[in-house]
Point group: D2
Chain length 333, copies 4
């Protein structure tokens, strides 16, 4: 029997790093978890007048719910998190520009002498019935509905090497990867770096474009249900995702081509391992069959995803079929 | 009445630069053109024993067919090329690794002291009936069919500033963008830099993964039919594409985030112009609705595409509907 | 009177992160400190047969001595560390290649399918009398003496935002900047992020080329003496250095141009503040008078230094002349 | 006997590309050449009121004098140009900001939605007697003299592969490398790509900071004398420089770390060839003894120089001592 833990944090319970925090709960492999996650602004940006820089204070941005201790998890294992449901908790969501943050502005790192772009807030109406988020222009009467496609921008485990990392940074431990691929129905795999794995999640998006070009998606608090599993003695070098149809590897780095290289390198070697292809043959197959959805091109590291359809792998099964089993457990919840 | 020009080059007629070459033919706006294009190896790699470095000689790589002079085209105009058909000319295609070329190897620019990867050729069987290309591993008996999705890696016009550029380089004049978005049914727009525009095309791919990670796609000679149009006095800063459903901008640069920035910047300002949204409102819309398919992460510049569905633009029509008109002309061919 | 603290850590006292560790000692502003620092291999690489990957274990690399708590230091202050003496503790030092680390090899992030370069150790003889380090080739009889120029690769404070970072990473808190500018006679300034500042240092180099191209310098344990000072209520955004003749800013990021941008941006705005030049006039002055010594092009972030001679600033004095005062205190030690 | 050619171009004789232009003169190996070069603005920016974007027109920027045909030069040879004298032709020089150009601004490639920085001109007084250039702030009364250190930003040969490249682009053929190392007393080596080599030069700077951070140096017309030599059958992959004390390699690429990699890779393999060190031993030596002066971080490619003192190479002589011979010929002019 799957045990379902329900956890709703108070504002004081939210975490702003991966690593460096004690667990808020312990769960067992096979357990399910239903959590509330706040939006990236801690719920403080609620309308046009609540500019992020006025209502939020660094480093209290991009809070995550957790961390959760997974019984028996040790370095060298792989944690599997299957996302059963990701549902917006409110009927609205927000986006904004943020000074010197985003892809089409200079930033603290791509530093220029130019002043920042105007800070502006957009409010989206979410319609569960229609499955839409409604964009409204601020300076004209343009309105359009976009599909609601809920996802989590930030999921990860405690990093290794005694590190604690801001939740806005994606890296080998996961974190703020900001990929729309991280949606319901998907299993995410993380290499475990510390005892208990200490995973956490947050930064829900009602939807997001590729690369999150302005730096801010349609930010939404979420009710999310996931199933937790542990693969003992199985390493995972970078976060991986699996859906019913695809295997995916991620890479998070700068410049963006290194994020691409990491993700493609992991996918090529993973495919080689699963299929018995030698590395060059796998390189060739991925080169023709592979996809490369952009995650984010705005965070402290950029994220790319490397993706290949399972149907091209002739029955190869990743992680001994755990995705399929978790999918079934999720359906039974 | 659309005039259809048919042009099949001899080996000596092939070009290896954009710019610096006289036109092979003159066409008029509204004309159609049916051309043969050789594969990136000039057709010389035909089997496992014909290694690219042995049968090809730099700079005689990636030949293009053309250039074609478009009557009346002048700097400041936009050339529109609508791809009606792209059909493999042979029932086989090839791919390979190429020493110190590709994303998962050091290169002449990402220079390391490591020796190159093994140079290896793969031969694909193309099936027009099944619409497939057949991958066969070289070092095991793994075989899988992938969908045939013909495209041109290389299309462009003569660059400005008196330049002539190798066909393997993508830049503001087009060139070797290597994006799978450049398929039949699509209109490509180029800013004209010199009298006559002098466009050329080549580097057909029976299919290609995202980023062309190994540096070489499923390389195929093509029979391609396109319709040529000219928009007088309309500038286009970077190559753009339009399909029935999407508007697309491209950017080609290094590092990869600059290719992303260029393409997203062009799409945001283009969308602003088409919809009347102010720039920040357009930035926000593209940020949530936009896509960012990777072109290449292996060539001398990397290419990204920025893409937005027309249905989110509330009836805005690009270039006064020329894509629709060319689509109809193509259907009538 | 300057109090001189002497601190020599045991192996168990060494730290491998900035942040996340309790202080080993408390010092007061105005105090001097004499410490021993181990080399980047923890002293375990002692000859040709002791390959780093065999005798060292990740993450126990690049140990630092500290952290030291500075009484009264609070976020928003600036910590000044003046390096009075940096003296190799042994008459030998080592260097090596390290698999998939360095600028002329693929790495975990610039990931390729190529095998690593050979792992090889070089041993240098240090001559205090001659002020030289002796390079001996491994595969020929080539021998040459290079000037000894002792420096610390790694100095920093605890980062903000509740982070703990591996000592091999340079960032806004300092860390593994690996710049030869960090030598005796120089004052380093860090913005304080946590109560007590919690500074630490290590990774002594008997000398280093620009960029540390192989990833490993002439690694040496050091006896180092420094004077500690605190500037209350004075922020410092990125580590800065001051010698008798130069003001310097640093930036650590990827790609390398962002490290350059950060450091030049900080120098331009700093110079503007010190001289009363407006930002564009300061930009112009630095553009013609500035230098840009490369720090490292091998670590997890790359480091650039931006540097301008004080004599071009017409008497402007940084941090109210604290460098001059610390220089005098150091001379009196 | 050295023949001295004197060549002073009219405005119409200036070139704006490397490649794609007929020679203006033919010279023989061993000949000397005295030329006039215009500044990067074609001499049109003469005071505060002559803003570059108003008086200059793209692509008529950065003119070069030449190209010169070198008798007997063929692909596979090396052209050696020894700079005997570089002397400002006027007693003033100019600098400026230029919209969306430079390192501390967004650009056409690092594209953002921010408006450009203010376009502003600075005028420098040059004093041959004092050897100084006088900086005057525009918005305050700050004045300071900087050392005059004349150099050429742009020198190169026609590129290979039938290319013609804008003079503002540095690449393997040379071009706009913008390194202060290219000063009088230095020999520059280029691989020859086309018959006659077709070298040209321009873009004199009375001085320049490292990286040319604002994108514009102290721009000056020059009278320059150089000696031309040809090394038959000796290839040179990237431009190299030699002074009495140093050997230097260059790399021009983006991102900046690739420029670093190219230049260090060339220096390491060059040193290995000259000294008999194996590649790893040479890598180690350069890693400790090498320097890495930044060229430009503002042009279409960035440029890094890799540099090692000849005294560390135990008598190894590059290109059979041609620098020494040309130095003597220059002294006799």
């Amino acid at each position: 029997m799957t045990e379902l833990h329900v956890y709703e944090p108070n504002a004081d319970d939210l975490a702003y790093t991966f690593g460096g925090r004690p667990a808020v709960r312990t769960v067992r492999p096979g357990d399910a978890l239903r959590v509330y996650t706040e939006d990236c602004f801690g719920g403080k940006v609620t309308g046009f007048g609540t500019l992020p820089t006025q209502v939020c204070q660094f480093p209290f941005l991009n809070p995550v719910t957790g961390p959760f201790h997974v019984e028996g998890a040790e370095p060298g294992d792989t944690l599997a998190l299957h996302f059963a449901r990701i549902e917006p908790a409110r009927d609205w969501a927000v986006s904004s520009t943020f000074p010197h943050f985003g892809a089409l502005t200079s930033t603290s790192h791509t530093a220029t002498l130019q002043p920042p772009l105007e800070e502006r807030v957009w409010v989206y109406e979410l319609s569960r019935e229609n499955g839409t988020v409604r964009y409204r222009a601020r300076n004209s009467d343009f309105v359009v509905d976009l599909p609601m496609e809920p996802m989590h921008g930030t999921v990860g485990v405690a990093p290794g090497a005694f590190e604690a990392r801001m939740t806005i940074t994606p890296d080998a431990h996961g974190g703020n990867m900001d990929t729309p691929e991280l949606r319901a129905g998907v299993t995410v795999y993380f290499g475990v770096n510390v005892a208990g794995a200490l995973f956490a999640l947050g930064d829900g998006h009602a939807r997001q474009g590729h690369g999150e070009v302005s730096g801010v998606a349609v930010e939404a608090a979420m009710h999310t249900t996931l199933v937790v599993e542990l693969l003992k003695g199985v390493p995972t070098p970078w976060p991986r995702l699996e859906s019913d149809e695809f295997l995916m590897s991620t890479g998070s780095a700068r410049p963006l081509e290194d994020a691409y290289r990491i993700s493609q390198h992991d996918l090529v070697t993973w495919v080689a391992g699963l299929t018995g292809l030698d590395e060059l043959d796998a390189y060739q197959l991925v080169s023709q069959a592979g996809e490369a959805p952009v995650g984010n091109v705005c965070d402290t590291n950029y994220t790319m995803v490397a993706k290949v359809a399972k149907r091209y792998l002739r029955g190869a099964e990743a992680y001994e079929g755990v995705h399929r089993r978790l999918r079934e457990m999720a359906a039974a919840l």
